[in-house]
Symmetry: C2
């Protein structure tokens, strides 16, 4: 065997073990009996140790030195493996262990602080997390911008500065659009209750309509919907709310977007570094285009309206037009995960600017709450009423996930680019969506993006699919047009 | 840290990984989407390689050489780890790989041969499996009896000769009892259909009645019922048959017996070699005493009769006495897994004698079918009608599981010993069982056997619980008394 073949055989086992570790997480959220928690923590720890040891195995470095790539696929595989080795070997074991211990404690502290609406109780441990992540960033990137070193873990090649340029162009137009919309009369909301078994049945129909393969996946209920796994076993979860069936339907379609990406990767890349979605941002572009540009389009919601009438009878919305406005209703709210397409990115931009300032040392942890509240007031026009609606809202920082938030908006930006290209490639798209048929849309995404997995960098993945470098302009144009139409702006 | 502490820390991770590997098997039988099969095979392979490498890790040998046990628990831990290292390091990697490949192929060949009723199609690959297992046995035990080397993997300390002595005492009395029973009029059978949701609900009630903890487990459906996992996460499966609710109920109680053993082990042994049931035979003693001596007793079935009347209304059995006879009905049949308490062991003894002769070279693979059919005719009095009811009936040999069958009967023998001791310790047992209350019975088993896990050898585990060395006499006396009573012998 050549060095490349030996390396890939070793890597294949590592990828298989990584799939097992991921499925352990799925099991924990869906199937695990409550009393198993302490044992499960040890199981997770044992798998993490095995995977870490394999990533920094000295043989990997040796193989990388002598492996000769035969083609672009091999070159990409080597690039991913080298990147993983570099990052893993630069972080001292002592620091990795301290980070794991501290974020575990911080997570519990955050949950209690949020329940108690007690920001000061969370800040000391948050300070520790910030300090440790800075130390980790310095170990990886030396004197370079620590935020970039963290961001690179979720979105290889992206930098805080490049994102800031894009996001700073988004913000004023989103603030203006939001304000214009909220000056108009609000569309109707849903009222009444919606049978949960019927929600789950229609949710499964939606998953299948968006091309999710249950031969290579399954749908279960979980508190927080997620997608899990790569290759031939990609599972999703959903949830129900008795009064809000959209929560179930659009959670499902969102997770189907993630899962379809994984299921759509060329099986030649199975259990290799190319056999997974290339970045968080590109992943989110798939979940978002499925959920929003396709799932919340006028055409698709006209089909969904009929499905809901079949499932629930007359539920108080007079026609497809009113239903489209209800699905896309924009209203005040504090919570990022409940936000509509227009306001969602404002929530993310706030977090991005604050966490970047934290990492740069331009914002002290003790000033974080005030900075959050000021920024929220500036963009949304009203004050945060309590910490659980503000700085204690999200789990991410307690887990040390700095650099993760911007990938949400980057995904929306990418989805805007892909949607523009898709519309040009498939002019008759709306006729199909109005029949509940997404096959040309999802087929185009599979052909132009999903199948390649990790072959190209995230930005190149979008450029290859659309023919253009990523830009925020298509997303802004799409939002202006869509909400201008709905709200008569 | 001392050598013992270092070894135990390493072993603890190995045990955690082993739990993950086991749960992967559970997932495959209950949750895995069909299309995931090829990927799952690689995942299983990767985990098996990791576990094997840890079992023969050179550090384990070093630690074992210098570790000083402080007490009986430490001594037992060292004994288990040494045994695992010895077995694993004696089998060459080449042979282990060939066995894995050959049994995988043999399993598929057997399934097809059974479907086709085609014994000759199975024999060549069975010959290979036999040869490889003999080679493995020789690698482990040198010139000692190869069957003993294999048996020792399932029942440490047992030998073919010691089991044969016990089983040879069982056989004539079981043949005689069977014959006497079948000369009498047969009890009524169940007729009609039994709602499957109601079966599952009552099955869960039975699991709880026998002390199964759903806080540390869960119950799902599977084609073949099984119990999976140790420590804080012990899951069971069951199945339903529309016309045979006993299949569901007694499968569940059987698996609860296995699971209760795992759940009953002292949590001080969690994720150590003592934290698992000590042998297949002792495991089966728990499943069997739950299922048969307790679950099929006159007292307990009187409670079950009432439960079934509540769940299904009048199902055609007039009273508790008739119900007891129906539950314990003895009738002709070819299939081991469907056999009653009297005939079950005759099925096992047949397989034990044949596989021992195969391994000793006293029986050729080509003569196996004829030997099976002759022996069946001798013990059961009628001829095997087709291979799927005879030599192709069970999966075990195709998977190379020689030495496994006798642990089924050994479990019944142990259950007989435990039941005798339990009756002496808890004279009022029947009053409780008649109320559906098994707490004193299961509490006695937990206190006297289950809690100790792997502390003592299998035989010493039974001796410690009962005060006597294991013997077939209590099982035979119990069967004579019980079936003599039911059939008026």
């Amino acid at each position: 065997m050549t060095a490349y073949q030996e390396l890939m055989a070793f890597q294949r086992e590592t990828e298989a073990l990584s799939q097992i570790a991921g499925r352990l997480g799925w099991d924990q959220e869906t199937m695990m009996p409550e009393g198993a928690t302490p044992q499960r923590a040890e199981e997770h720890g044992a798998m993490a140790n095995i995977l870490h040891a394999r990533r920094i195995d000295p043989r990997v470095g040796d193989w990388l030195e002598t492996a000769v790539p035969a083609d672009d696929v091999a070159r990409a595989n080597l690039r991913h493996i080298k990147r993983s080795l570099d990052r893993a070997s630069k972080v001292p074991a002592r620091l990795a262990a301290e980070l794991a211990k501290t974020t575990s404690l911080a997570h519990r502290t955050w949950a209690q602080a949020r329940a108690d609406e007690d920001v000061p109780a969370f800040l000391p441990i948050l300070q520790k997390v910030v300090d440790l992540r800075k130390e980790e960033a310095a170990a990886i990137a030396g004197n370079a911008d620590p935020y970039d070193a963290l961001l690179d873990d979720y979105e290889p090649g992206a930098t805080g500065a490049s994102l800031a340029a894009m996001f700073d162009a988004l913000r004023p137009r989103l603030v203006a659009l939001r304000s214009a919309i909220l000056d108009k009369p609000a569309p109707q909301t849903l009222s009444g209750e919606f049978d949960e078994a019927a929600q789950l049945a229609l949710s499964e129909k939606l998953a299948l309509a968006f091309g999710y393969s249950v031969a290579n996946g399954r749908i279960d209920k979980a508190v927080h919907p997620f997608s899990s796994g790569s290759g031939l076993d990609v599972r999703i979860t959903t949830r129900t709310s008795l009064t809000d069936p959209f929560n179930c339907f659009y959670s499902t379609v969102h997770e189907v977007g993630h899962a379809a990406y994984e299921q759509g990767i060329d099986q030649a890349h199975l259990l290799t570094p190319l056999g997974r979605g290339v970045s968080m941002g590109v992943h989110e572009s798939q979940s978002r285009i499925y959920e929003n540009q396709l799932g919340r389009s006028r055409a698709f919601t006209s089909w969904l309206y009929g499905q809901m009438r079949d499932a629930f009878g007359d539920f108080g919305i007079a026609d497809e037009g009113a239903f489209y406005a209800t699905v896309n209703r924009v209203s005040d709210g504090f919570i990022r995960t409940e936000a509509d397409e227009v306001q969602y990115n404002l929530h993310v931009l706030l977090r991005f600017d604050l966490e970047r300032a934290l990492m740069a040392g331009d914002l002290a942890v003790n000033d974080l709450e005030a900075a959050w509240n000021d920024r929220f007031k500036a963009d949304f026009g009203y004050a945060v009423d309590k910490p659980s609606n503000g700085v204690l809202q999200d789990v991410h920082w307690s887990e040390g996930l700095f650099g993760y938030f911007p990938t949400y908006t980057l995904g929306n930006v990418y989805a805007g680019c892909l949607h523009q290209a898709l519309r040009q490639a498939v002019p008759e798209l709306d006729d199909q969506l109005a029949q509940g048929d997404t096959s040309q849309a999802t087929g185009w995404l599979r052909t132009h993006l999903q199948q390649f997995g990790g072959l190209r960098s995230p930005a190149d993945t979008i450029q290859h699919a659309t023919g253009n470098a990523p830009s925020e302009a298509p997303l802004l144009d799409y939002l202006d047009a869509k909400f201008g139409d709905i709200y008569g702006l």
